[in-house]
Symmetry: C2
Subunit: 239 residues, 2 copies
């Protein structure tokens, strides 16, 4: 169904714009995403509530309303100014992981670009889920959604503390620690949880204490790698 909206005061626009804020995402259980590719993935996950677009799109199921709007209205609800002219609302779905043998755990990872990029990589390497600690950024933040390139519609996303998952899994913690084992020497355990830490301070002391294996990527000249790059190298090795 295609409808037209012209007023900035329209309730649908106001509602969508409110989803830029974390508290409203929580209240309504919904979030915003943008672009053609993300829309494709969201449609195939049957997770599109409504679409705001500059011109009506083809091949959209009839029970999803497309609101055709002017560029200034789209800007109000878009993060990037939406070069592709498509913003849509999806529901926050608790996707139950089929198994939890290969999991990446984010310990206070703050930057939404990093969190989204790690989601994208985790999906590409067929990880079973991504788990975010309290203190990691909101996974439905628009910047996370954008950087995830649609992975957010496929990858199970959990919020939990590490201790809930430690028991029956090998906990592998990435830390630039003198005693850390070089990643190259690491074999992939049958069931594991890979932990990466905060951009500035790394993993917490407690996390380090619950590690079965501490590992590091051998680097020179500089203190550390970007956390999304490090996570990518780790996940590529630990398949």
């Amino acid at each position: 169904m295609v409808k037209y909206i012209e007023s900035k005061e329209n309730n649908k626009i106001k509602h969508a714009a409110s989803l830029k804020e974390s508290k409203y995402r929580k209240e309504y259980g919904e979030f915003l995403a943008e672009g053609k590719k993300a829309l494709e993935l969201a449609l195939s996950a049957k997770n599109v509530k409504e679409i705001f677009t500059l011109k009506a799109l083809e091949n959209i199921p009839n029970d999803i309303t497309q609101y055709v709007v002017k560029p200034d209205l789209l800007k109000k609800i878009s993060l990037t100014g939406s070069p592709e002219g498509i913003v849509f609302v999806s529901q926050i779905v608790e996707r139950k992981p089929k198994r939890l043998n290969k999991v990446v755990y984010l310990d206070h990872v703050n930057d939404p670009g990093n969190v989204g990029t790690i989601m994208r990589t985790a999906l590409a390497f067929s990880y079973d889920a991504i788990i975010l600690s309290e203190g990691s950024c909101d996974p439905y933040n628009e910047k996370v959604v954008s950087a995830s390139k649609g992975a957010i519609f496929q990858l199970p996303i959990l919020r939990a503390e590490l201790s809930e998952f430690c028991k029956d899994k090998t906990v592998i913690v990435s830390a630039l620690n003198d005693k850390a084992k070089d990643l190259k020497e690491l074999e992939t355990p049958k069931s594991f949880i890979l932990v990466v830490g905060n951009e500035a301070s790394g993993v917490s002391k407690e996390t380090l204490e619950s590690a079965d294996i501490v590992t590091k990527i051998d680097i020179n000249n500089i203190d550390s790698l970007n956390v999304a790059v490090a996570a990518g190298i780790l996940m590529n090795h630990l398949r």
Copy 2:
């Protein structure tokens, strides 16, 4: 030497603010950087022209002027609002690479965050230089500088076309091509140039034609990895 600036119309402030634009960076051969860590690395590379700070810093060589300013002035020249209260001007230096055996080449990589992150990774893996094609983003853009975490002060950065470097090197191109060889099977050549491509369209046709080896990272479920993550995995393998 410590001086104080209070006026927004001060020429030093105006000059520094102008460096947010590419054309003035080119005209003056200077760029802006921020933060304590970057300052340390810039100082050790002897590449700090002047510093703008909320309060005078210790251990700064006396021939470098520190301008102490109010937060609103610092904001004018800062990208991030400078949480650490330090912005400084450095010179664009053509650092001659000692050798060119291990080089990463960016073919139309546009996103400044990605370019800066690749610099950081290239330095961490002791690459000899990073080369940017025409059409890749300005390496002295503030967002590149920020994401490079100081690597910009140590890594030789060149602007050139791939053809200038092809002759005596193995050209390894990363592309999600059916004929591409799995990265895992690749041995590191003695002298090589690793090419990664544009975020949306990958490497150009021409680039693909000049490849000695085309390689890809084995992924599932999703079209591609983030280019900085892919470059990280490739550089970690090709050491």
